[in-house]
Amino acid sequence: IPVSVICFPQQNYPLYIRSIPTENELKFHYTVHTSLDVVDEKISAMGKALVDQRELYLGLLYPTEDYKVYGYVTNSKVKFVMVVDSSNTALRDNEIRSMFRKLHNSYTDIMCNPFYNPGDRIHSRAFDNMVNSMMMQVC
């Protein structure tokens, strides 16, 4: 169950932020922001356009809490970062991938909306609904 989902464009500012527990949200934001560095590192290392990457097992970074941060990059360098609670060990890799795919599809749908300017914050209700359903589904 994603605890937090954040979406960044190439310029690395957040287009969309959604977290479940509203307390300590800042901590998630900070973590996600630091994880961007790792994302960029991996992108440059790969060289080609990469579709899906799992990254940042942060299990050890914060011994008190355990959560994992996953990343996903689209061909247009739009990054999706997802924070999941490690205690939910039932969450498997392909589930994470499918969640990213859903995010990517919803993002594409938003792009189709002529009233959306790329680079704007995402206010789409459809996108919100999708993220909510994703976050709730494993709850």
């Binding site: 594409t108 749908d109 792009m111 189709c112 909306n113 002529p114 009233f115 959306y116 206010h123 789409s124 209700r125 459809a126």
Partner: protein, 493 residues
Amino acid sequence: ATAATAAAGSTAGSTAGTGGLLLPLSESEQQRYSELFSRCCPPPEAAAAGGSSSSSSSVGELFRASQLPPDTLHQITEVCGAKRVGYFGPAQFYIALKLIAAAQSGFPVRIESIKNELPLPRFMVLKNDSEVRYGTPAELHGVKFQVPHATLEKKSYKRTDEGDKQEPKSPPMSPICSPPASPSTYQRIPLSYGYGKSRSGLEQQHGAPYEVRHSTHQQDGPSSGNYGAKPAVACSTLNQSLSAEREQQDSSAHYSDDPWRITEEQRDYYINQFRSLQPDLNSFISGSSVAKNFFTKSKLPIPELSHIWELSDVDCDGALTLPEFCAAFHLVVARKNGYQLPEALPETLLPEYLQAASLKPMRGCALFESYSESLPGGQQTRDFSRTEKASAEEVPDNPALLQDAKKDEKQALKVNTALKMIPKEFQHLTVKTAAQESNALRARPRSRSYSSTSIEDAMKKGEEPPTPPPRPQKSHSRASSLDLNKIFQQSTQ
């Protein structure tokens, strides 16, 4: 006084059924509230001129009659928003009445309390005339509630214009007036009745069609004006002339109460608009350039337009087919008339529904007696099957229609106003042959949308009874034998 109140006070034909977006008011509540409001209201003539907000003294009297402690009343005044806006418009008044009922039932004075079912507020000290009115609710029954709705419209425009969409105390847009899409209220109204005159009076007064400027707040409202506004938002003199008609139409109004249901005239109008942007009815309007500019002209705020697009572009392809366009346009219209946008696309606006419905024979020629100048035939289907004749007639007719301000239908108004904005496209209306269009229309929608063949059958069935459809002599754009088989099967049935 009773005549005025009888005109101004009314009940709505529809109750709180049209969606949970609006503050639900039951029949009796609506009756009572409108009575109370009209009692506190200045006379309709003054209301028309100066906005129908209640004088605070009579409202204060009424509130005191509720026998609630004064600090509760203060709280109510604050919560309903009257303190904020400075007067009791109908929205605030209704909320206040609901809050009074809540307080009298022992609930705290908060907006959440009024979302529940509540008994009517009780007022101990009643004036004689109001008692008389309460005693004869029959005379108010069936009369539409126009005046407060007028200001409700204005409020919603104001809020829209201010971009204040997070207004928690958004006006109780209970469908106290039949929704704009309601066909029965507009179709059978004879053109000569007083409304047209009063509207043209309004036009002169305000210098723009349909802008309800008689509001106490400085409503520039150019947006709503340009794109057409609800015709019911006019001075209350029209109530009296309309009340008789409305009563008869109430009984059949249940079908049309749904504001998300597109009426025939609206559909025709939308189709014409679509044609002006894209002559081929089976193709689509590209989102990024054409549709965006078109809908931007409605002057709705971009986030709302974005949401409307999201709702109506069902296949998310960045382009609008005809049914998607109709849905989008309808949502724009509804929004301009104050309805909150739904979270999900209503069933009656789904493309499959619209396509299936588009060729059903509708409720008879009576619907079109007021619209017949622009359409040759009486029925929707004829529009498609006789477009060759229609197009030739439409082009000269529609400009006449446009300048003719005698229609009160909002559709016609929008034709009036919207076409002022896009006159060029409209005059370039191309005349297509009927056969081609009707064939393409019948064959294509099946391919375009994900509608099943049953919808196509429904469409064909719909076309059969009223007039023999033109045989597809010409080869249509997709020379698929499957199409021809379907058509011939249908014709042999």
